[in-house]
């Protein structure tokens, strides 16, 4: 019978379901985000999602590719969510749109679309924004209760779309630098870790509020591992590397180097470990390669955070390691069945 061939059965699992599960796993982190920082993040998530779907559809149409099956694969939505979560929630609407559009069109579709992009599209979007619009990218919302004034949802909407704040409110009053950024600045000003961490923006382990968001992503990550959507190797190797390196520096000089737990629960470490590095398209495929990749990313994250020019290093660490993936894969091919013993 032409047209039929074995195997005649397949496991009922699809790319679409996998991506949907990954998005579900982001929800605890997002919920905690909203709890501490207000609903502005929901606006950026929606904006990014709409942009991603439109740009994806447009790119598919231009290339004469079938639109429906690809839109349904949920990968564009996931990219949108990851990017939105990396941008300050109060950023102007066009920032989210530009970043998402760039991520989907240039870094995904110009490289061949789903499965062919060498770089993590969300991280490319982030990199473009932080280099092009550094000022806008630093206006992070203060957690509820810490800022001088907290904005209502309508005020937030107004600011995102119109750029206007309620009369008498200054931007500085509602935004602040991130915990990692603050740490870096204060250390530059010859502050000591202990004193810096006494500032109100810090919580138990890392940033007030943001540490709980990180915990939410950790929870989602554990869900993904439990559901076998991702393998544990990459996140565990990444977080362990970051922990050990930060630990060594901290042991050497605790006045200048924060605790390893601070690093794990700050910035994009958690979301990166479980949701960004694990992007299958842009990470290595071999078991050994995954270890190498995660090790490199952990090392680079620490180096950029501690000695580099940016407060967080996750995005650039990911992109730098993405470059190495073909090489890593080529040099870490596992031995096959029956051919493991060294031939003497």
């Amino acid at each position: 019978m032409p047209g039929f061939f074995s195997p005649f059965i397949t496991k009922p699992v699809s790319v679409s379901q996998i991506m949907l599960n990954v998005m579900l796993a982001l929800i605890p982190g997002i919920a905690i985000y909203v709890w501490y920082f207000g609903p502005a993040i929901l606006i950026s998530l929606t904006l990014a999602s709409l942009t991603a779907l439109s740009v994806e559809a447009l790119m598919l149409k231009i290339q004469n590719k079938p639109i429906a099956p690809f839109l349904k694969d949920n990968t564009a939505l996931l990219t949108a969510w990851l990017l939105a979560l990396s941008i300050p929630p109060l950023a102007p609407w066009w920032l989210v749109v530009v970043g998402t559009a760039f991520a989907i069109s240039i870094s995904k579709h110009l490289y061949g679309g789903l499965g062919n992009n060498p770089f993590n599209p969300a991280m490319i979007g982030y990199a473009v924004l932080i280099i092009s619009f550094p000022v806008h990218m630093t206006h992070w919302l203060s957690p509820n209760g810490l800022g001088a004034i907290s904005l209502s949802f309508m005020d937030q909407l107004n600011y995102i779309f119109q750029g206007t704040l309620p009369a008498g409110v200054k931007l500085d009053a509602i935004t602040m630098a991130t915990p990692l950024d603050t740490l870096k600045t204060q250390l530059h000003l010859n502050g000591q870790v202990k004193e810096i961490l006494d500032m109100p923006i810090y919580g138990r382990l890392a940033g007030h509020g943001s540490e709980w968001v990180a915990a939410g992503f950790l929870l989602g990550g554990i869900y993904l591992i439990a559901k076998r959507i991702i393998s544990w190797h990459l996140p565990v190797a990444y977080l362990t590397t970051l922990f050990i390196i930060a630990g060594i520096f901290h042991l050497i000089d605790p006045t200048h180097y924060v605790t390893p737990m601070f690093h794990l629960f700050s910035g994009a470490a958690m979301i990166g470990a479980f949701f960004i590095l694990t992007d299958p398209v842009t990470s290595p495929t071999t078991p050994k390669g995954k270890w190498l990749f995660a090790f490199g990313a952990g090392l680079l994250t620490y180096l950029i955070r501690t000695f580099g020019g940016f407060p967080d290093g996750m995005a650039f660490a990911t992109l730098l390691m993405n470059i190495c993936v073909p090489l890593i894969d080529a040099y870490t091919q596992p031995k096959v069945f029956g051919k493991k013993e060294k031939r003497s």
């Binding site: 699809s14 079938p66 789903l114 071999t286 031995k335």
Partner: protein, 560 residues
């Protein structure tokens, strides 16, 4: 408890065995006709030994084994030879092959058989000859002539593995055979053990067949056998692959292209052991086998079926339902779709699944590979299927070979788990067949070049010879002339004898041709097992179709 080993990967598809293993094996009725292919085994096709119109008895030889690696074919019942012609057969290529059509006379009359009351009195070569004459081949699917596998080799073969794992979903023929005919299987295994001089027999059965396991264990106890162990192995597909079962039971990994006997293991299917016993003890040739009939039928069950029975006549015994689109021979993981519902059951037919849209829904359109490595996690050969897919699709066949394409056992586990619904195994079949085709072309081209060069050098030589003859003639003529003018003869001095130059040149040409021949690397196709060679032929026919797919798999979306 024996320590079991694991193999990498594997999958757990729904087993769907309960439908067909609830009732005992039933003898299928005599069909209206039998279509018996002459090529049911690995190796050379058998040669017809009967004529149209001839009356044959049940068990009579109708196809003679041709050459060393071949097997005999026998009449499955008594009756009249109605045709000897090419017909569609149970393979995936859909290419007709030479078949003998036998119209049963209904008497089912046996030829006089040559039983053997005590096989221990026979020499090993006598036993092998009996098996060869009885047309016994591997019934696990490989259909390799069994006598060829039953030579004691230089290397000591410590372990005989009997494969009763039956890991493919739906199939229960070995399960039922073990439940009902355990003692005979063990007797057959004893003969095999004697021929191979192995110490132990390990019988591997997946632990989803508790009845078969206990039946076999009871038979071991009852027969007071020494050195036979029935071992329950975990149910993981493809745990019944010979390489995987050997790995699980002994820890030995038999790499692609390596003979298991070189590592001290030989493996047979339980059905082959049973047929071996029947062939030796009763002199019965292999004219029937157990076949599971399942899928889109209301009474899925196992039948003892005469070889050559048309599949639709057999399926009719199981009360077929409407909506069957085609038959699959084998299981849903590695089975092959039948080119027609009327093809005859062959020695390799372990299962017929009536396939409907409900049981096997059409494949979803494929999306691009997202490198999630679920395939690599499932691959029992520990390959990187996503890389092989990439290279096969790009027709980068050298690279595919570097990434161990030929270690792929085509078990289908990768395709099964792929979330992008990519028919990965089809790509590997395509790549393999392309490589085989390239190598065949290369060989043909080399031969042609060699011939051409030889011809060139011959023409050159003939020209030269002519020219030299002419020169000699002229010289002789001019010498005569000078003699006539009474001048002292001046000899033209040549250092080299023209005859020698000629020889030298010819030799150079031949040497050159030889060197070129030697420079060609030994080809992959030269080390093929006959099983692979048989696959080549089958796959060859699929190539065109797969090639289309490889060109534009994504374009399928537009249709859906």
């Amino acid at each position: 408890m024996r320590k079991l080993h694991q193999f990498h990967g594997g999958i757990h598809p729904p087993t769907n065995k309960a439908q067909s293993n609830q009732t005992p094996i039933v003898q299928a009725n005599l069909p209206s006709k039998l279509t018996i292919p002459l090529h049911q085994h690995v190796g050379n096709s058998a040669v017809p030994a009967v004529e149209i119109g001839q009356h044959v008895l049940k068990g009579q030889l109708i196809g003679c084994a041709e050459g060393n690696l071949s097997s005999s074919v026998h009449a499955s019942t008594s009756g009249m030879i109605a045709a000897i012609d090419k017909q569609l057969v149970a393979n995936s290529s859909g290419l007709p092959e030479l078949c003998i059509t036998l119209i049963p006379d209904g008497r089912d009359e046996w030829i006089e058989l040559d039983p053997c009351l005590d096989w221990l009195e026979c020499t090993h070569s006598e036993l092998r000859l009996k098996l060869r004459k009885a047309g016994v081949v591997g019934l696990g699917g490989a259909v390799f002539p069994s006598d060829m596998k039953l030579h004691a080799s230089q290397q000591k073969i410590k372990t005989l593995v009997l494969n009763g794992a039956e890991c493919e979903p739906y199939i229960t023929c070995d399960d039922l055979l073990m439940r009902e005919r355990a003692a005979e299987i063990l007797e057959g295994a004893q003969i095999m053990r004697a021929l191979l001089s192995t110490e132990e027999i390990l019988i591997g059965i997946e632990d989803n067949k508790p009845e078969a396991i206990s039946a076999m264990r009871a038979a071991v106890l009852e027969g007071k056998y020494q050195g036979i162990e029935v071992i329950a192995v975990p149910t993981v597909y493809p745990g019944g692959g010979a390489k995987q079962l050997i790995r699980v039971l002994t820890g030995i990994e038999v790499a692609a292209g390596v003979r298991s006997t070189n590592l001290g293991v030989q493996c047979f299917n339980v059905g082959t052991a049973y047929s071996t016993w029947r062939a030796i003890r009763f002199g019965e040739p292999l004219i029937s086998r157990i076949v599971t009939v399942t899928g889109n039928v209301s009474h899925p069950q196992n039948f003892e079926v005469l070889i050559g029975t048309p599949m639709d006549e057999l399926v009719a015994h199981a009360a077929p339902l409407n909506g069957t689109r085609y038959y699959i021979m084998g299981g849903p993981m590695m089975g092959v779709p039948m080119p027609s519902m009327q093809v005859g059951v062959i020695k390799a037919t372990n299962c017929i699944i009536a396939a409907s849209k409900e049981i096997f829904p059409p494949a979803q359109p494929a999306l691009p590979c997202i490198r999630c490595t679920r395939c690599a996690d499932a691959c029992p050969a520990e390959l990187q299927p996503q890389e092989l897919y990439w290279f096969a699709k790009a027709k980068n066949f050298d690279k595919a070979e570097d990434y161990h394409l030929f270690d792929c056992i085509e078990c289908g586990a990768c395709s099964y788990v792929c979330p992008s619904n990519i028919p990965l195994v089809q790509y590997y079949r395509f790549a393999k067949s392309e490589i085989w085709a390239q190598e065949a072309n290369q060989k043909a081209a080399d031969t042609a070049r060699e011939r051409h060069e030889f011809r060139e050098s011959r023409i050159e030589r003939e020209k030269r010879e002519k020219a030299e003859k002419l020169a000699a003639k002229e010289k002789a003529a001019s010498a005569a002339k000078t003699q006539r003018t009474e001048q002292p003869p001046t000899l033209v001095k040549t250092d080299v004898n023209p005859e020698d130059t000629l020889q030298l040149k010819i030799q150079t040409a031949i040497d050159h041709a030889k060197e070129q021949a030697a420079a060609i690397k030994p080809l992959n196709t030269e080390q093929l097992t006959p099983a692979q060679q048989a696959q080549i032929d089958e796959i060859e026919a699929q190539r065109a179709r797969i090639r289309e797919m490889a060109l534009a798999p994504v374009a399928d979306h537009t249709k859906g």
